[in-house]
């Protein structure tokens, strides 16, 4: 079967199996059922090793499937962290026992995963995290707080980055673990964002035990494991697998031109600007995709695309409200929701400042900032918010 046939077959399967959204049923149950079907059809873990439950195929098939899936909204949201980040990390860095235990249940939609890196005091500086894992007999005990955790309230397992040594510089005292999210010492509290929705959680760990078999990578080598995860996160965001296509975006040109006065030349020119910025970024993204297909990997240049998307998102919602005027901010106008959510893309997955640093350092090869935090023992380092 060549790639085109693969894509056609995938499309046919999706039309059969992904069409009915049955929105009245429980979304988690629906997700689990769909993942099981996906697994049975051979579309779960397309590029993952066969030995652990994947299909052992290449990026080409993965891309063909994504292309086929573009017109569908696959109900796999609760598995996005597992499939995009924690699963690939275990495949790359886990022990065989861990792969055996965790990968197949993930691919079959039996177990939901979340990722536990971010902390309120650390922010962009992930490695300055303060959650502690302390030796306790053969295992470990965890105490601390995590934040910005998607799907944690559904999760069975979490990939947890914790501090295991405060006497060494911050990057050198971290260890990665798999933690049981069903343990009673784990408290998941929904975190309301500025739009009033709760898409994230805060997690509190109160003497949560972890067996040493659930350690991923060496003790104090957790940062290198986290780098693997974050790499997968970035790939996953830029690929946007299974995410919506923004067809109903109230800030898009198609939507705005219907509700604004296009007889006003100034309004028309604003819409032209919107078109220009959209096309510029869309073509850049398409070029990156074509390059990837041709074997040129975008690497840190993907951070430029992410930065541009973040700025475009802010710009579009702002423009929409300015064009529509007073009506846009009352009575549940879709633009009202859009303007509330528009900062999200500039904050999640690295702030715009972090993206600019990455582009400057890794794409342009500029000299790094002098770092004050690379040699100081963690216990002597300033972190978080200092009154």
């Amino acid at each position: 079967m060549n790639l085109d046939e693969y894509q056609l077959a995938a499309r046919a399967w999706l039309e059969e199996n992904a069409a009915d959204d049955s929105p009245e049923s429980d979304p988690v149950v629906r997700s689990k059922e769909f993942m099981a079907k996906l697994y049975d059809a051979g579309y779960s873990g397309i590029t993952w090793p066969e030995r652990w439950g994947g299909q052992g195929l290449t990026q080409a098939e993965e891309r063909a499937f994504s292309t086929a899936a573009r017109d569908f909204t696959l109900p796999i949201y609760v598995f996005s962290i597992g499939l995009g980040m924690t699963g690939p990390t275990l495949v790359d860095r886990g022990t065989d026992e861990q792969r055996e235990r965790f990968v197949r249940p993930l691919l079959r939609g039996e177990e939901i995963w979340c990722q536990l890196f971010s902390e309120p005091g650390a922010g962009s500086d992930v490695a300055s995290l303060q959650t502690r894992a302390v030796r306790d007999g053969d295992g470990w005990v965890v105490n601390g707080q995590k934040v910005w955790t998607s799907v944690a309230h559904h999760a069975d397992w979490g990939l947890l980055l914790a501090r295991t040594d405060v006497e060494v510089p911050k990057h050198k005292g971290l260890t990665m673990f798999v933690v049981d999210m069903r343990h009673p010492g784990v408290t998941v509290r929904p975190l309301k964002d500025m739009s009033g929705r709760s898409n994230f959680n805060e997690i509190f760990f109160d003497d949560v035990p972890i067996p040493d078999e659930h350690r991923v990578g060496e003790v104090n080598d957790g940062w290198s494991v986290a780098v693997t995860t974050l790499l997968h996160e970035r790939l996953s965001i830029s690929a946007g697998v299974g995410m919506g296509t923004g067809r109903d975006d109230p800030t898009a040109l198609a939507a705005l031109r219907e509700v604004v006065d296009t007889s006003d030349p100034l309004v028309r020119d604003e819409l032209v600007e919107l078109h220009i910025r959209n096309r510029a970024l869309a073509l850049f993204n398409q070029r990156l995709a074509q390059e990837t297909k041709a074997g040129i990997f975008p690497g840190a240049r993907g951070s430029a695309a992410k930065l541009l998307l973040a700025e475009l998102t802010l710009y579009q919602a702002d423009l929409g409200t300015r064009l529509v005027g007073p009506d846009s901010v009352v009575d549940g106008h879709p633009l009202s929701h859009a303007i509330s959510l528009s900062p999200a893309m500039s904050l999640g997955g690295g702030t715009n400042e972090i993206m600019r640093n990455i582009v400057g350092d890794r794409v342009l090869g500029l000299p790094p900032e002098p770092r004050v935090d690379k040699t100081v023992p963690f216990k002597d380092l300033k972190v978080g918010t200092q009154g």
């Binding site: 922010g123 910005w148 309301k192 500025m194 005027g325 009575d331 999200a344 640093n357 004050v372």
Partner: protein
């Protein structure tokens, strides 16, 4: 032209600022309109009667003083019908209604003004009286009177509500002519509030940049943050200069008022939103949370920017006034 506050104006500012800091801190702001705070605001500081003529029991102050007060209520995101009552008071300039004006001056009556269709009236739920310009005539209706239905609207701005008002057989009382230059004066009053929102946003993020650490350094020490804050400060300086000018023009130079008012909305409205947005973004993830106050300023700034219409109307006005 007077762009610097007088001693008395600085004292007024200090008084309003300390009062609001104590009586209406941000956690309280989230709870919404508090009549008792208003009673004290009016009783202790006389704010509601600030620009009401002395013959109606007000202080007879000018826009320069009003701008000082509005900057502070803006900075504090004071909820409730303060700006709307100011709007109404401005509208009553030529239709001086003794009962209304002395009620406002005493803090007994709160009011609002229809700046657009009645299906979105700012503070329509809290105000006692709604003023509606009907052609050249200013009319008034009691909002809790017969024939009036008001429905609260879901609003982006969590600290200033709007309501949809339906009049069905309600009696509109004609008060007199709509004053000339009403829109200009509303624009200046709003710009003063926006200046406050801008200033408070900048102060909040500057304070945070001095205590928040990333990669072992205060974030305010990074040029990525510092230079953005410097640019925001430049906007503040210019916005304040424009508000002082526009307030002075409203008081002293009617010929310059139309341009000054359009300039105020065109510049200050935009600057306020940009600063409030960047202040939120520079807070990082915490600024995106409901618990943090950043979004309150961001949303007020956006709601204010479009309060008097799509912002381009102020620019078109300027183009006309400049005879371009």
């Amino acid at each position: 032209m007077k762009l610097v506050l007088s001693e008395e104006q600085r004292e007024l500012r200090t008084a309003v600022r300390s009062f609001l800091a104590a009586a209406s801190p941000l956690p309280k702001v989230r709870e919404g309109y508090d009549r008792e705070v208003y009673a004290r605001l009016n009783g202790e500081l006389g704010l509601s009667g600030l620009i009401v003529a002395e013959e109606y029991g007000g202080a007879g102050a000018g826009f320069a003083e009003l701008a000082v007060a509005l900057e502070e209520t803006g900075a504090a995101l004071l909820p409730g019908p303060f700006l709307s009552t100011v709007f109404a008071t401005i509208a009553l300039t030529e239709a001086a209604d003794k009962e209304l004006l002395s009620g406002i001056a005493e803090g007994r009556i709160t009011a609002t003004l229809a700046t657009g269709p009645l299906d979105r009236v700012i503070n329509g739920m809290e105000a006692d009286v709604l003023l509606v310009p009907e052609g050249d005539v200013l009319t008034a209706v009691e909002l809790d009177g017969p024939g009036v239905t008001r429905t609260p609207l879901e609003t982006l701005d969590l600290t200033r509500g709007q309501a949809s008002v339906r009049l069905d057989g309600a009696s509109l009382r004609a008060l007199g002519p709509v004053p000339g230059g009403l829109g200009d004066r509303l624009a200046v009053a709003l710009a003063a509030e926006q200046l406050g929102v801008l200033r408070a946003s900048l102060e909040a993020i500057v304070a945070y940049a001095k205590i928040r650490v990333a990669f072992g350094r205060y974030i305010g020490s990074y040029q990525g943050v510092k230079h953005k804050l410097a640019d925001m400060h430049c906007k503040l300086e210019q916005a304040e200069s424009i508000v002082r000018f526009a307030a002075w023009a409203a008081d002293e130079s009617p010929g310059e008022l139309p341009q000054a008012a359009a300039l105020a909305q065109a510049y200050v409205g935009r600057a306020c939103f940009e600063v409030a947005r960047d202040h939120l973004l520079l807070h990082g993830g915490i600024g995106f949370t409901w618990e943090h106050d950043a979004h309150l300023f961001y949303k007020r700034a956006k709601a204010d920017e479009v309060l008097l219409g799509p912002p381009r109307i102020h620019r078109s006005r300027l183009a006309e006034l400049l005879e371009l």
